[in-house]
């Protein structure tokens, strides 16, 4: 059954009652579609390109070397805690660098028990400049 759609495009009625396009889109609609596709493609493309720029340092040899060093440092501190602190020990983490303090708490988890105050701790942990772990060393002091 031939029909004419409200936008002037010829069509027909399918078995399910839906109008089915039989011809091509009018020129105006084609231009509009071109604009939509262009704008969307440009934005998506620019976003991907922006991502490449943002990620350039991380993917550079210098960036990868820095991250590899960081990884080795993490692993080294993790094992240092397990070799230098008794299992289940109550520890107080005292490090001026907030990030290092958080790393020590994280890497102590499941081995030692970080304490919120020094009063209940048997040991104090901190990271100091050194050679053991890629520029840092674990310092363990009894209280």
């Amino acid at each position: 059954m031939d029909v004419r759609r409200p936008d002037g495009e010829p069509g027909r009625i399918a078995e399910n009652g839906a109008s089915v396009r039989a011809g091509r889109r009018p020129v105006g609609t084609l231009i509009g579609c071109g604009l939509i596709v262009s704008a969307a493609a440009v934005m998506l493309g620019l976003s991907v390109r922006h991502g490449m720029t943002v990620n350039a340092w991380e993917l550079s040899p210098a960036g990868m070397k820095a991250w590899a060093k960081f990884d080795r440092q993490e692993e080294c501190i993790y094992h240092a805690i397990r070799s230098e602190v008794p299992e289940g020990a109550a520890v107080y983490i005292h490090d001026a660098a907030v990030y290092n303090a958080q790393r020590l708490a994280e890497l102590s988890t499941l081995w030692a028990v970080p304490q919120p105050s020094p009063a209940t701790a048997r040991w104090t942990l901190s990271l100091v400049p050194g050679q053991a772990c890629s520029g840092l060393s674990l310092e363990v002091r009894p209280r």
Binding site: G32, L35, L44, V54, M64, Y99
Partner: protein
Amino acid sequence: MSRALWVVIAGLGLPGILPALAIARRSPALVFLAPLMGAGMAAVAAELELGVGLSLLTWYVVVAVTANVAVVAWWLTAGRSPPLASPPWTWSILTMLVVLGALIVPLTSLRTGIIGYDGNAVWLTHTLMVSGGHHELLTGLRNAAYTFSNPDYPPLVPAAGALAFALVGRGDLRVAIEVTALLTACALGVVGAGVAAVGGRGRPSSRIAAVVAAGAVCMVGFSVTGIYYAVGGYADLLWSAAAVGAVVWGLVLPRSTQALVVAWICAGVASVTKNEGLATALVVLVLIALRYRPLALSRLRRPRVQPESRGLQDVAVGSAVRRWAERAGFVVVPALPGLAWAGLARLIGLHNAFFTSSSAESPVSRARATIHGMAPHLVVVPVALAVLVAGCYFVRRDRERARLGHPAWLWTAWFLSLALIYVTYVLGSPPIKWWLLTSVDRTTIYPQLVLYTDLAIWMAIAFGGGGAQAAGERPAAAPVAAAPVAARTDA
């Protein structure tokens, strides 16, 4: 990387494959949905570990077996009902390959070995706690020495990581970070499969355009985030992609049981990944409930009561109550894992660190700073608005014929979630400049990804995606008795 891939495929994907197959059938979303469902099961297992006792692995086995038995039972009983519509295998495989290819490119950055700040301070800390069993998890989360790790954060990422530790050992903590990155890719894959489905009913050329748009969206997901956040163990892109998956499957694709359940799973995953994910998931679920159980405006008008029509009115009231109960069920059931975690966290005394005290800064100055902080991350908005206007003008009828949801649904989901994040910044307690500096590039991932996805959807429609339904090809039946009044075009 190979061990993380093994964990995602065998540890998370295998237990999720049967439920995913029951839902997705031949949709290319299947391969991405299965590990996400496995991760969702791991999150539920972590909640049981915290709330009841025992270990993650024990509860994971229980949850996975229960879910699979339930699916088999459902499959046996549903065998008598007509099968769900599924796309052809060739189409599914092509989409899957393109989306996988688009995801593999950014995933190669895993070789950098990045572990981000939150990857350490929050997610690896929680992962180790979950890995240690009930006692370690409970005492760890309650330990004031771990306050920096935001102990109230939901358990999906730690649970997936702890499952990795259970399967491959704790020798290399990076495996948990890599599992998070792979799950993030899976969530983007579900979004991509949804975008590709927009063109699923069109001509071959428009189908291919939709598949290309799907691949582009997957790459954009990693681009707007940056690989530091995308593969460095952060959960922000994971919840954002899952929430966008819920938007695409629940608010854009034609109404069907399959699309609804995929949307629910995505929203469920977002709700147990991060607190912002839970808030956004609730917003999206409310909108999905309203789309599938539309409000009937005629019922809102108070009719004049005639004595003889009292019986009919009682029936109408009963029907209205049932309908509201269904809507509530549509929201609460998929969000149950996220809501359960939030309740459990309050029960054991954990509080959100961002609302512990009132801020010394005035709300006006915080509001102004928030606008300035968010604006540079929302440059896509003007273009997305222009494309929306052009799309509604030029290809509205194609969208209607494809039975896609009205664009107002997606934009409402975008606006409400953005408003929630904005209000959180304005009313929260941390110093606003520091807070924005350390988080706004992550809290705006979802609003950006939603709009880039909208661009890809309009692109697929403009190419003719879904516009030309073959004669006799019936759309999948909606699982509801539809009575839409809000959106005339929304089938």
